[in-house]
């Protein structure tokens, strides 16, 4: 039995992207695609799936739009640009094999346009390109569905009224704009991956969609090493998805994870991509993080992790992209490579700089190093401080367990 849902999901990004170009309107394109899907659900089981389902969906949706125009005068007014529509609607057919690859890029760059608020970029990407419902997106970001719906309406309205172009940026601006797109994709992934509260199915869906979209983007812009880096990073993190949360919903640290639960296929693909990204001259933000993730993913046992190499990569990362969070990670890697004291020294420096004093991971990292040194009383104090600042349930459970351990032993 053919899963039509899979076909629609696969075809949706390109189909909706081409329809937006043809119809000049986000809502109309999405509505007409939905109508085409309804027709497909009647016709395909009877007549079989067309040889190019994407082209079929686009052309059916196009005809639906014309039907509406002929029948419905208010619809016509809503359309605004009747002439524009009737001329573009007879443009050449969709390329049999490739569709319009540029349309998908246009759509990605428009959804992630820096003139839109970051949360609007994310929502628009998930709604328009991935086809998630408003309810699903609202649940994933823990906001009310009405709030999410308004956010989407406002974003689409701005695209129209400020005339955000439906275009791929020119070569000069591509790098900058691409960084923005990758940020949105990574945010979507992290929203699904990092938080463990909320609807698990929706969260898994976010990871899957982020990876799928990054993969599509990579095929469209092969030369950009940062896309390979981001895809590698996502795959390597995602490979641990089922190992990182325990039976009780608590967080399991990398070193304590059952590595047999890791997804080897994702790891192999991620490691290969991370190498690609580095070889392509990618000392980029994601390429370096992917290289670090590769080093974590490959050893069969946690003790075999090459911490010296990881610390060196964090050094590189910090030199190119200095931030307190990178510095904290570097401190942890240094601690693992040369001993807890060295790590504590670096963390103390960070603490005195003050920027991360409200960041629970700084206190939990410090607590962990103190625990390793047997300085239990200080460790307990740092765990307690981390607990005051943490807001994720799984992390809280983990910290509470550690706090009990250092207090009781």
């Amino acid at each position: 039995m053919i899963d039509f849902g899979d076909i629609f999901r696969e075809q949706r990004p390109r189909a909706v992207a081409t329809l937006i170009r043809l119809l000049g309107d986000f809502d109309l394109a999405e509505d007409m695609l939905q109508e085409a899907v309804t027709v497909a659900l009647v016709q395909w089981p009877r007549d079989g799936v067309p040889s190019n389902p994407g082209a079929w969906l686009v052309s059916t949706a196009r005809h639906k739009a014309l039907d509406h125009l002929r029948r419905d005068k208010t619809f016509e007014r809503k359309m605004g640009e009747l002439e524009h529509l009737s001329t573009t609607i007879v443009t050449p057919n969709v390329d049999k094999d490739h569709g319009f690859p540029d349309d998908l890029l246009r759509l990605i760059f428009t959804c992630c346009h820096p003139a839109l608020a970051l949360e609007a970029q994310t929502a628009l990407t998930l709604k328009t390109i991935c086809g998630l419902t408003v309810d699903e997106i609202a649940r994933a970001f823990l906001v009310r569905p009405t709030t999410m719906a308004q956010r989407l309406v406002r974003a689409k309205k701005k695209i129209r009224s400020a005339r955000i172009p439906y275009a791929v940026p020119d070569a000069e601006r591509l790098g900058d704009r691409l960084a923005g797109v990758l940020r949105v994709l990574y945010l979507v992934f992290n929203e699904g991956y990092a938080a463990t509260s909320g609807d698990k199915l929706v969260r898994d869906e976010l990871c899957i969609e982020a990876i799928r979209l990054t993969r599509l983007l990579r095929n469209l812009l092969v030369a950009e090493s940062e896309i390979a880096g981001l895809l590698a990073l996502m795959l390597l993190q995602d490979s641990r998805r089922s190992a990182r949360v325990g039976v009780a919903g608590d967080l399991v640290l990398l070193e304590d994870q059952d590595r047999s639960l890791w997804n080897t296929r994702s790891i192999n693909e991620g490691v290969a991509l991370a190498e690609d990204a580095l070889r392509a001259g990618g000392g980029g933000f994601y390429a370096l993080q992917a290289a670090i993730a590769s080093l974590h993913a490959q050893p069969a046992r946690a003790e075999e992790t090459d911490w010296a190499q990881i610390a060196a990569l964090y050094d590189l990362l910090f030199r190119s992209f200095p931030s307190p969070v990178v510095a904290l990670n570097r401190a942890v890697a240094v601690a693992m490579a040369t001993g807890p004291e060295a790590g504590l020294f670096l963390i103390a420096e960070l603490e005195s700089a003050g920027e991360l004093s409200g960041y629970y991971l700084l206190h939990s990292a410090k607590a962990d190093l103190l625990r390793r040194l047997g300085r239990k009383r200080e460790a307990a104090k740092a765990y307690a401080r981390a607990l005051e600042l943490v807001d994720q349930d799984a992390e809280r459970q983990f910290l509470e367990r550690r706090l009990r351990e250092v207090r009781s032993s």
Binding site: H113, S161, A162, R163, I164, P165, R173
Partner: protein, 119 residues
Amino acid sequence: MKYLLMIYDEESRWASMSEAEQGEIFGEYMAFGQGIKDSGNYVGGEALEPTASATTVQVRDGKTLTTDGPFAETREQLGGYYMIEAENLDQAIEIAARIPTAREGSIEVRPILPTPAPE
């Protein structure tokens, strides 16, 4: 499509500059203005007197109320504007980024509401 580029800056910064510095920035503005005239993007533009010269007018119940000063006290003040014709927001942003004040202050880019065509 027309866009209004509103130039916001701290008035005190301009006031604290030496004459030579002011002259340099004035020169940059002249060059910028000429540039968008040559490229056909220029529709209009003016610099404003400082907010100390502003009067805010409101009519309530048929009565005109006038208040000394700008409508809102803000950290950066509206100091001038350009009206441009641009293909889309990307081009408008690109032009806004070339305004000398963009380096220190802020440029607000607002699309002009298109006038409906007469029936």
